[in-house]
């Protein structure tokens, strides 16, 4: 345990020594705190005072039989996750909101209300988040006793006018079908002239109920299920899940498997960043840049095909290691492709620095200040573009990241241009990481056998997906099926950034702003 972590643990132990709050080290992350409905806010306030970079990662709602559990997973600037466990009775599921202390928790609370049924008093904008507007009241899908057959849907409520009485305000709806968005979500902009006054998001159009589906499939089948939450960061979802299972099983993965996993994860990151950089070009009307970036993305998919058999969804992870080995004969070909990609990077850097129309469209657009990024609990390149240096690969190294040297990229400007530059520099770092891993691949087995039935326990895990920090909470009850799988994806945490930066900007700035936080709605809705 590093010095700072011990401090947090001792601060909590000292503060809550004679109270009903129990502090358990090395449980569910670094520290688990058992609190109840009256004391959890004090724990949160203590954490906020101790560390300025405290942010909420996720809020898990879970059906524990007679009670409903609400687990707050908090991230501090040290390596650890701190989980605050609160239980509320099922008949009276009420809790006070924490969005006054941490505005970034608003979305998480709305989701818990939708799916498990806990009502948060004092929430700034209660309403449906992932379930449709005509979902019947009182049916909460993630409860164990939820009856999901023969649902009686309510009639869809009519859409409201923009602003009754004020005719200058026009309502422009981006989505659910819009050329600016790759996937369907609805953002209703209230616009006066060309300035955006308000943004109302509505997500949940691609909600497939994966968390519920994971409870009725075995652990082995779930690896493939969670892989398909997102097409581009599929290896990250799979890795996060299998690492959580391995934490419960207390299995140690062989070193060769760790390196191969790292290579697959970095290939995902390369794919995703090149895709976003091209897509950003399309949003600002720069088709040529889009075509060039996507042409350079093709070798990445070819490399993934060589290593794993498929161009996009690699299906390379399994509990206990990776499913197939890297052929030594393929390594020179892979390195050749990476070298030619690396030669293209200075061209793109120069385009971003010298092309006047890119700078006109991207500089000072969607600027997010550092304090806002911390308050809204933003993750990933969006945060690193605003000088917040969080990266799970550095904060809590997993797989082989502890042994491979690489730089953490941050930029200070906080606008769209900075975020795109963060991604471009990360492309270069990813190429470095893959080459280092290929050069130093350890020998030995790439897989260990694990039992099919996982003993009872719970674990939290996080990895750095291309868009930011991906978080999983897994609870097993000793059967072949998991009890609860909770996924918090990075885009879910970053949408508040878009809402905050879009207000006050031009309509024309909304698409580049939006694309710069790299939205992936399949991830958001699960």
């Amino acid at each position: 345990m590093s010095q700072k972590e011990t401090d947090i643990l001792s601060i909590l132990q000292a503060k809550f020594k004679d109270t009903t709050v129990q502090v358990q080290p090395q449980q569910l992350g670094k520290v688990a705190v058992i609190a109840d409905a009256t004391t959890y806010r004090d724990v949160l306030k203590a954490l906020l005072e101790a560390d300025e970079k405290t942010a909420v990662i996720a809020i898990t709602g879970i059906d524990l039989g007679a009670t409903l559990g609400v687990f707050y997973h908090i991230r501090t600037s040290t390596a650890g996750i701190i989980t605050i466990k609160v239980e509320v009775p099922k008949e009276e599921p009420r809790l006070k909101t924490i969005s006054d202390l941490m505005p970034g928790a608003a979305f998480d609370e709305m989701e818990v209300t939708d799916l498990v049924g806990v009502v948060f008093e004092g929430h700034p904008s209660p309403g449906r988040l992932v379930l449709p507007d005509n979902w019947p009241d009182g049916v909460f899908p993630l409860r164990k006793d939820a009856k999901l057959d023969n649902l009686q849907f309510k009639p869809t409520p009519p859409s409201e006018p923009a602003s009754p009485g004020n005719e200058d305000i026009v309502k422009i709806i981006i989505g659910p079908q819009h050329p600016a968005l790759l996937e369907p979500e609805k953002f209703a902009l209230k616009v006066e002239g060309e300035i955006v006054k308000d943004v109302q998001p509505r997500i949940g159009y691609v909600h497939r109920g994966i968390e519920k589906a994971a409870e009725s499939r075995t652990y082995l089948q779930d690896v493939y299920l969670v892989e398909r939450i997102c097409g581009i960061c599929n290896a990250c979802h799979a890795t996060c899940f299998v690492e959580a299972v391995e934490k419960i099983l207390e299995t140690e993965v062989p070193p060769r498997a760790k390196y191969i996993r790292t290579i697959l994860l970095e290939l995902n990151r390369l794919h995703s960043h090149l895709l976003t950089l091209g897509h950003a070009g399309l949003e600002i009307g720069f088709e040529t840049l889009f075509q060039y970036f996507w042409r350079d993305r093709e070798p990445i998919m070819d490399i993934t095909e060589i290593i794993s058999g498929n161009r996009v969804i690699s299906s390379g992870m399994t509990v206990g290691g990776v499913r197939r080995d890297i052929n030594e004969a393929d390594i020179p070909k892979i390195k050749g492709m990476l070298t030619s990609l690396r030669k293209r990077l200075p061209f793109y850097k120069k385009v971003y620095e010298d092309e006047p129309s890119i700078k006109m469209r991207m500089k000072n657009v969607g600027t997010l200040k550092r304090e806002d990024a911390l308050k809204l609990c933003i993750v990933g390149p969006t945060a690193r573009g605003s000088a917040v240096d969080i990266d799970v690969r550095k904060d809590e190294p997993y797989e082989a990241y502890g042994e491979i040297p690489f730089k953490l990229i941050t930029y200070n400007e906080g606008d769209t241009w900075a975020r795109m530059n963060v991604r471009m520099d990360e492309v270069e770092e990813s190429i470095n990481i893959i080459e280092y891993a290929l050069d130093n691949l350890p020998t030995g087995p790439f897989r260990v056998r694990v039992p099919r039935v996982v003993p009872a326990g719970e674990a939290v895990n996080r990895v750095e997906a291309p868009r930011g920090e991906l978080f999983y909470y897994l609870k097993s009850n000793g059967t072949a099926y998991p009890e609860r799988v909770k996924v918090r994806t990075p885009t879910f945490a970053n949408i508040p950034a878009f809402l905050a930066t879009a207000i006050g900007s031009n309509i024309a700035d909304v698409p580049p702003n939006f694309v710069s936080l790299d939205p992936c709605f399949s991830c958001t809705d699960r």
Binding site: F286, T288, S357, M360
Partner: protein, 330 residues
Amino acid sequence: MLFDLYFVFRVLVFPGFTFLFFFTMFCDWVERKIEARMQNRMGPTFTGPGGILQPFADVVKLLTKEDIVPGGAKKTIFRIAPIISFSIIVFAISFLPIDGAAIIPNSSFAGDLIFIMALITIANFFLFLSGWASANPYSDIGASRLLTQFLGYDIPLVILALAPAFLAGSLTIASIAASQYLPFIILAPWAFVLFIVTLQAELEKDPFDIPHAESEVVGGLETEFCGGKLAFLRLTRDMQIVFGAALVVELFLGGPYGPVFFGFPAFWYFLWFVLKLLAVVVVTEYLTCLFARFRIDQVLTANWKVLLPLSVLSLTLTVAVATWVYPLVM
């Protein structure tokens, strides 16, 4: 009798409507092929040899689709506006000498440069009307942006077009084209460069293609159109590009006049005209691929704060230089 047949042939077949129709499609193919090759991809390849029939296939496809008029649209304007703007542009082109004489024979008159500029403004206005008549917020935004853009950029366009008019000493396009012993691109290069930039804005091409910005306003003013009316809108846009390039050729590149080697001079004039026009199309397409799209306020700043003063300056410079250089050259 013979004169009537000649008139009908010139107006309807060559170099009139039919020729313009196919020539527009040919220019569209050239544009798409050049854009594709610059972006390292192939462009239309398989429809016809080298993909040359692709624009034609697009028009035929659109004509076979169902033609829907939205319930809340102003139906008459919705139906007529695309056709009117298309016809006005065809009418405007017919004043330009393509093979040494204008399409409508003996039609050029003193001041037809200004007349053509006015026609283009009216054609654009009908495009705006077609967007305004659709009952769709995206069309409204696209149409209003179109209006802002073309009304704004018309002024520098006219001022810049006056530079070659001054050098030639007349406002008749045929005379301007004919009096270029040395093409005006060499005598007034500043006017040429600024004219090309303003033309990009007038034709709504990158970096000024906001009215068609897909990522913001879905389809712009074209959103509600489908079937035959969309074919007309697309043809209007393509023909505007041909018209703009033809104007550049007439004003700055010496029109259809060039060295005649053997046979009919009309054939050679026509050939030079086509070659010069294709060169201008390639240049404008290059500029399109080079830039990202400007925001509407940046477009307006570019117009009122940059292009308008520069165009006035260019006219002044042309006048000053002409009184000094003109006697040496002519």
